[in-house]
């Protein structure tokens, strides 16, 4: 089973509708037309923890590139689009895909894949085989982003 997950990872992510998996420690997910409709964990996301994870510089670090409705944090980045209203513009399934691996939608994006540990070049040893955030943290971030309505 572990082998299947590893082999499926890169190819799977590239093929819409195929089963894609992160790594040995990542759970499987299914891409349907550039979205991931199913929760990674089956457990509802916690928006409060999602916000924390989004701010955390070693986890989501979303503020590095995005302006967000988080006035208590200074110096929001300008690299990506502002996220105010993103919960109105995109569906939960679309947001989940973008947090997991934005490159499935746009291979040229600068945005890291937050839930992928394969197909990467020269990853520092201590991060090898790991994803930037956990499956539950993906769900938490998505739940938080869904609260950012216009």
């Amino acid at each position: 089973m572990k082998y299947q997950l590893l082999i499926g990872a890169v190819l799977g992510a590239a093929l819409t509708g195929a089963i894609a998996a992160g790594s040995a420690n990542a759970v499987e997910y299914k891409i349907v037309e550039d979205t991931v409709p199913q929760s990674l964990t089956g457990k509802p996301g916690d928006p409060a923890n999602g916000k924390k994870t989004a701010i955390n510089r070693r986890k989501g670090n979303c503020l590095a590139c995005h302006d967000m409705p988080i006035p208590e944090q200074a110096d929001h980045g300008q690299v990506g689009p502002p996220l105010l209203g993103v919960g109105s513009r995109l569906s939960e399934a679309e947001l989940r895909m973008r947090v997991i691996d934005s490159k499935v939608i746009n291979p040229d994006t600068i945005m890291p894949a937050f839930y992928r540990s394969t197909g990467l070049h020269r990853v520092l040893k201590k991060w090898q085989g790991k994803t930037i955030v956990s499956a539950q943290e993906v769900e938490d971030i998505v739940a938080y982003l869904m609260t950012l309505k216009e």
């Binding site: 590095a64 300008q78 690299v79 600068i110």
Partner: protein, 279 residues
């Protein structure tokens, strides 16, 4: 046909109106626009190219501009002192063969890294300095990030200050340049980012509290406030690599020397500004 023309006219009219509205609204100046108001930056811009001096804060520029204020000159002084100091079994100093550095080294720093027919390698200035020490002076090589090496590199490059970056990338240097270019565009690390993703796609953009620069190499070795000392360009590469959670290379490796050549070509025609001061 007529309908098409009308549609186009309406569309153009609407967009002109929209543009007028946007222009009329008071717009906050971007970080780069604010920096460009400083008359000092004009010497550091050539066409679309801008050195790190432009992206630095006004306070940092002021420190760089005054050789007595610029702390990098503590290292330049070490270099100047060692230039005429005899070292090694051959009983020679740099000055024994090269005389006064301001004359003999003028323009030299702007041409490195350089392919050497002798060693059949692309050599950064540091490699050249150590080659001379080992082969001509019969002296021990300096460590890449030692004060002696940083000092000598800064002292030699200072003799090119204000002169345009001018490296050779054709002939035997070509494969090294191509390898450097490949490195520059190769995504790496857990964050899966190439140098180009930030420094080509998003210069002058805020990444959290930092203004992304074009990643120009012409001021190295640089005094970095974050380091509280002078450091080499290869040290900066290591920092960048680690930031995207990629395994860095060692200073002086072929990979980083090739990358240095690619960057120096990117900086072609910009003035040398070693020793610069950066955040």
């Amino acid at each position: 046909m007529k309908r098409t023309i009308i549609r186009v006219t309406v569309a153009v009219g609407a967009s002109v109106l929209l543009a007028a509205c946007v222009a009329a609204a008071p717009k906050e100046k971007t970080a780069l626009e604010k920096r460009l108001e400083d008359p000092r930056v004009k010497n550091y811009i050539v066409g679309e190219k801008m050195t790190g001096y432009v992206f630095a804060t006004a306070a940092t520029r002021t420190v760089q501009d005054d050789d007595f204020e610029n702390p990098a000159f503590l290292w330049v002084d070490i270099g100047e002192e060692n230039w005429s100091k005899v070292d090694g079994a051959a009983g020679k100093s740099c000055a024994s063969c090269h005389g006064d550095a301001p004359d003999s080294m003028k323009g030299v720093g702007a041409t490195y890294p350089k392919y050497s027919g002798e060693t059949k390698k692309l050599m950064a200035l540091q490699h050249r300095i150590n080659w001379e020490r080992e082969n001509r002076m019969k002296a021990k090589p300096w460590k890449w990030e030692s004060d002696e090496m940083l000092g000598m590199t800064a002292y030699v490059k200072l003799q090119s200050r204000g002169m345009p970056v001018n490296v050779k990338i054709d002939g035997p240097a070509k494969p090294f340049y191509e390898a450097g270019k490949k490195f520059y565009n190769q995504r790496r690390g857990m964050l899966d980012m190439a140098c180009a993703n930030c420094h080509v796609d998003y210069p002058a953009t805020m990444i959290r509290s930092n203004l992304l620069s074009q990643g120009m190499p012409n001021g190295f070795p640089t005094y970095r406030l974050k380091w509280q000392k002078v450091g080499s360009l290869h040290r900066r590469f290591r920092g960048c690599n680690k930031q995207v959670r990629a395994a860095p290379y060692k200073q002086g490796t072929d990979e980083y020397t090739n990358l240095e050549l690619f960057l120096m070509d990117r900086a072609r025609d910009l003035p040398m500004e070693t020793p610069s001061v950066r955040m």
